[in-house]
């Protein structure tokens, strides 16, 4: 028993010092000059534009990944077709690719000197940022939904179609309600990752303040380029707040899933 307590103390001590202390320091620096200073710093034109760009990217990426995730999960769980094993493996591939490599590959493909010869203005603008974010979040919905689909089986769906329901009706009335929690969990993970993505975006985004700067790029620009450390801490606090909302949502979903 005492071994266990010793292990617990040592490991939690490590996490406390290296996770909690840095975050607490950011919080302290953010609010040491009061709430007004914080509020002013996160409502400058550049900050508002960064927050809205980040949310715009989320608003585009989430529907794309939900549709792709549902289609792929259904294909993997219900379909039977040649190459299914390969697809199963390939879907996870984005997890194995460093975000910086995602960005570089996109530049090599879409960029002015790239494979397409810059035919479309993708790099350094919104489409490029969306493509990068879609790539790094690609597997989230699939991986949450597919196991649920396998678990619920096909009995109810078959019953519905025997009773004359069309495929579409079966999907909306039977399948979708059953996988709702899984879809939502996947969406939460996608949102969290999209908001926090930096590595891939820093390569493909122009990073022009007020135009092509997301919240993470704003933090970086303020911290490194502008030496506006207070502004960077304030923007980090906003990011961290969004991440904590994600954590709470995940905990609530976990509870519903177990119930």
């Amino acid at each position: 028993m005492s071994t266990r307590i010793a292990l617990r103390t040592a490991a939690l001590g490590y996490l406390g010092v290296l996770v909690l202390v840095p975050l607490a320091m950011i919080l302290y620096r953010t609010f040491e000059d009061g709430l007004v200073a914080f509020f002013q710093s996160v409502t400058t034109p550049a900050a508002i534009s960064a927050i809205s760009l980040s949310l715009t990217i989320v608003a585009i990426v989430v529907p794309l990944n939900v549709v792709f995730g549902l289609v792929t999960a259904l294909a993997l769980a219900r379909g039977n077709f040649p190459g299914k094993g390969i697809l199963q493996a390939v879907v996870d591939l984005p997890f194995a690719v460093s975000p910086v490599i995602v960005g570089v590959a996109l530049i090599l493909f879409w960029g002015n000197d790239g494979w397409l010869g810059g035919a479309l203005p993708v790099i350094f603008s919104l489409p490029g940022m969306v493509l990068a974010t879609v790539f790094v979040t690609l597997p989230f919905v699939v991986r949450e939904v597919e196991p649920v689909l396998r678990e619920i089986g096909t009995e109810q769906e078959e019953a519905a179609s025997t009773l004359g329901a069309s495929r579409w009706q079966t999907f909306w009335r039977i399948t979708l309600p059953a996988i709702k929690v899984g879809v939502f969990y996947g969406v939460v993970l996608t949102v969290a990752r999209s908001l926090g993505e930096f590595g891939a975006l820093t390569v493909v985004a122009g990073g022009v303040a007020g135009e092509s700067q997301t919240l993470t790029l704003l933090v970086h620009a303020r911290y490194i380029d502008d030496h506006n450390t207070f502004g960077a801490y304030a923007a980090s606090t906003v990011l961290m707040g969004l991440a904590l909302v994600t954590l709470v949502l995940m905990a609530l979903l976990e509870r519903r899933r177990e119930a």
Binding site: T3, P22, V134, L195, G199, Y223, A243
Partner: protein, 269 residues
């Protein structure tokens, strides 16, 4: 069966379209010539044979690769024992404080990596100024963000093992240390191997933390090198480096998947 054709087709198109840029980047790593956009035969020039510009012979590329591997190695050696200790310590702990420690463990998984990097930078340049920036700070950063993954993997395996064998060993008179060393650790083998490989992949793919903790040219990792040269005038040696990285982390995650019988792990948000 209309759906069984349409859905896979849509999926394949979407996946291939997403992966195409990466595949093309890999293709040009094997180019004979200098171009990174037109096919010019096949060669290993940019990996091995070019006397000054290949990954093997360009000192900046070779040293970045070496540093990445050193960081990954050190992170594995520290994060896996520490994470295993935490998993064992947290196992079946239901009392006061267990909720807090669970949140503490999940926190690194949801913290945006940039916020994490800024926080660590602040820590190592002020309160922990004696550590400073450099390799040590990079290792500590990698260990901290990969720790939670180790805990998740080891914990999953602990749940599968159950409590029976442990209790049997204790009943037969084994002291706790023996139970751990002779019974639990061997049973945890696959999870430990999967954890090692996952930490390797996480560390080698990381850009932000390594960048913020870096102190100069000798602490440059491969993703940092790739980032720096992507906007300059790169040669296919950059593609070659990308290819090497992909092969390394893919191999690690595939092995981890096979050993852990779980699914590959997602990098931190």
């Amino acid at each position: 069966m209309k759906r069984s054709r349409l859905l896979p087709a849509v999926t394949w198109i979407y996946v291939v379209w997403s992966l195409l840029p990466v595949l093309i980047a890999i293709r040009f790593a094997f180019n004979e010539g200098r171009s990174r956009t037109t096919g010019q035969g096949f060669s290993l020039r940019w990996f091995w044979t070019d006397p000054t510009l290949s990954v093997r012979n360009d000192p900046t590329l070779a040293s970045a690769l070496e540093h990445s591997l050193v960081l990954a190695g050190l992170s594995m050696v520290i994060a896996v024992p520490l994470g295993t200790a935490l998993a064992l310590g947290l196992q079946r702990w239901r009392g006061r404080g267990s909720g807090v420690s669970n949140v503490l463990m999940l926190l690194p998984l949801v913290t945006p990596e940039l916020v994490f990097a800024v926080g660590l930078f602040l820590l190592f340049t002020s309160a922990f100024g004696f550590i400073g920036l450099g390799t040590t700070a990079q290792v500590i950063g990698h260990v901290t963000f990969s720790l939670s993954w180790v805990v998740l993997i080891v914990r999953g395996r602990l749940v599968m093992i159950g409590r029976d064998v442990e209790e049997a060993a204790a009943d037969l008179g084994a002291p706790p240390w023996h139970v751990l060393r002779r019974v639990l650790l061997p049973l945890l083998g696959p999870a430990l191997a999967a954890s090692l490989l996952t930490v390797f992949a996480l560390s080698i793919d990381d850009f932000v933390v390594a960048q913020y903790m870096a102190s100069g040219a000798d602490t440059t990792t491969v993703p940092m090198r790739i980032y720096a040269s992507a906007r300059a005038a790169p040669t296919p040696a950059l593609n070659a480096l990308v290819t090497i990285m992909l092969v390394l982390s893919l191999a690690a995650l595939a092995l981890a998947w096979v050993l852990g019988r779980g699914r590959p792990v997602e990098p931190r948000a």
